[in-house]
């Protein structure tokens, strides 16, 4: 593809996300108007401006964005390699457990404690995606279905493991991690006081850069993407397509697991609660990936965007609105973004017919 076409394409992709966001926000505004016309405008502008109230709010945006950038990367990376990782939720909670158990049981590690705990998170997350990868590669099991099953198995397993290893009976949750396992603040607490943001945000950015490089600048990433486009053709071209599928899933799982580690080692009073509810961050990751068009850089901004309206939504209670309006807005953005991909395809197809050229 020519460079100019590429830029045009990117512009269009970006535009389609922006249109979906605008439609989603307008939909939210309509709901606010229906439920309480007098306060709707005030509430709506709070959603848009709440995150910029003070430095603390900006820090909270970054804090909220950190884990969902990772789960977003997980889903987005899988998308790029032709897989739909709906299992980020299970991988996330396995990662959280890996981080928490290392964070509690191995305080003798000292200054590298939190690093090892995060590694454990990534490893457990990756392991949890291994089985769907193997099933996809060798038994042709669709990864969406197997990952949904793995989500529930993972949730029950982590509850069981927490109950039997690091259980705080009084609060029905995991115990607190050692001080040395908490991710350092690196001065962020000075810039954004009382906001909980920590160096995890930098790790998220680092992950974005690494995944961007893998996907766009390495032959390994090219192979993974090639298998996603056409499994048979890749095999014919000499790529070990089974290995590629498994590796794609494992890397996606490791990213989601790392996200779990980043959240539960933030030192912000987050504990693994022993309840039969799937981790929401995994599903938010799907939203982030779709909104960011599976592009790592896009995912970074999409994660920040969802953090931004979530923080804005927190202030909605001042206006007698339930903060769930944010979830409604995000869901409708996702719904409409599914459409905008179609609009893009239609335009591409027309362009292909007119120009006789090949699309992407």
């Amino acid at each position: 593809m020519k460079l100019t076409d590429r830029i045009k394409n990117m512009n269009f992709s970006f535009l389609s996300s922006v249109i979906a966001i605008i439609i989603g926000l307008l939909f939210g505004l309509v709901i606010l108007l229906i439920s309480n016309p007098a306060q709707a405008m005030g509430g709506f502008s709070t959603i848009l401006t709440g995150a910029f109230r003070d430095m603390r709010s900006i820090g909270r945006v970054m804090y909220f964005a950190t884990p969902i950038i990772l789960t977003g990367l997980s889903v987005g990376f899988a998308f790029k390699t032709g897989l739909f990782n709906i299992g980020a939720s299970g991988q996330f909670i396995l990662g959280a457990f890996g981080a928490v158990i290392v964070g509690i049981k191995l305080p003798q590690l000292g200054s590298v404690h939190w690093v090892v705990a995060l590694l454990a998170a990534a490893i457990l997350g990756g392991l949890w995606a291994l089985l769907p990868g193997i099933l996809k590669a060798y038994a042709n099991v669709h990864e969406v279905i197997s990952s949904i099953m793995m989500n529930y198995i993972g949730m029950y397993l982590v509850n069981y493991l927490v109950l039997n290893t690091v259980y705080d009976r009084l609060r029905n949750q995991s115990m607190g991690v050692a001080k040395s396992a908490v991710i350092p603040k690196m001065g962020l607490d000075k810039i954004f006081p009382r906001s909980n943001v920590n160096a995890g945000f930098f790790i998220a950015i680092l992950a974005v850069i690494v995944i961007y490089i893998i996907l766009n600048r390495t032959s390994f990433g090219f192979e993974l993407k090639a298998v996603g486009y056409n499994r048979d053709a890749s095999k014919y071209a000499g790529i070990n397509e089974k290995r590629s599928i498994i590796l794609s899933m494992v890397i996606a799982g490791a990213l989601a697991g790392l996200g779990g580690g980043l959240l539960y080692l933030a030192g912000t009073g987050k504990y693994i609660e022993v309840v039969d509810i799937l981790a929401a961050e995994g599903f938010t990751g799907i939203s982030v990936a779709l909104l960011g068009l599976s592009n790592p850089i896009g995912i970074l901004f999409a994660g920040l965007f969802i953090g931004y309206i979530t923080v804005g939504g927190d202030y909605m209670q001042l206006y007698d609105f339930a903060p769930e309006i944010i979830d409604i807005i995000v869901a409708s953005i996702i719904y409409f973004s599914a459409f905008s991909l179609i609009v893009k395809n239609v335009i591409d197809r027309r362009r292909m017919k007119l120009g006789g050229g090949k699309v992407q």
């Binding site: 099991v141 198995i153 029950y156 599914a338």
Partner: protein, 317 residues
Amino acid sequence: MNTIFFLLRQTLTFSIPLLVVALGGMFSERSGVVNIALEGIMVFGAFTSILFINIVQDTMSGQLLLLLAILIAGLAGILISLLHAYASINMKANQVISGTAINLLTPAVAVYVARMIQNVQQINFNNTFRIPHVPVLGKIPGLGDVLFKDAYITTYLGIAILIVSAIVLYKTKFGLRLRACGEHPHAADSVGINVYKIRYAGVMLSGMLGGIGGLIFVIPTSTNFNATVAGYGFLALAVLIFGQWKPMRIFFASLFFGLMKTIAATYSSIPFLLNLGVPNTIFKMTPFVATLIVLAFTSKKSQAPKASGVPYDKSIH
């Protein structure tokens, strides 16, 4: 003996919603539209109908109210499934994405609306629907204890839906067309079947049954609705696969899953199970693990509808 009857009744209570929702999923998938929105559809059906019960229960109660609520749950399910149908059929969107959006949307709507109306997200209702003892039939030894004591009409409705679904799918013109659209839409189109219409019908049926399933999951197991159906929609998806997209197999799959749920929920009060020393978690996991195993062994020659998940576009051949 009473313990066994209790366990069997409990199994039915857990199985019937799974059965109904999985049958709904069957209609959608066999028409060619993957529906992972079952969870969201259940939430919306349960939310709408229980809100209805909450509002009118001062003037009405018993079976008439339940029947009306079932009707409303079905309609609400159809309504929300239209979102999925429009995205997947008209807009040819990715069906998993559209389904995910609905799964995100409906719990948020349920909490938001409940909190805007009554300040708390839980919607309470009085359970006036349990039938302690069905006259005559309740006296049958064994069968009467299981099916006609402490019963809900929803159990009979579920079994009726099973029978009707099997007949519709295999013995009617509509069923044949539905299956054709899920296997080979181009062939169906070439003999004059309107693929879009049939797929709409499939998705709307899944909406109706999903909505009803949401209500009949909540009614016997709780006295309030808290914006969740506890993963039952996804469990129903597992039932659908475990049942290999066929009505009778779906029925047995739902019984098996219901039994596992029952054991997980009641095992601490049953000495026999407690003495086995198997952790509760194992029973909770079993349905999902079993589904994975079935998938692993059947997917190479899968019974799944061939065109399921593929948008139909007349212009592409």
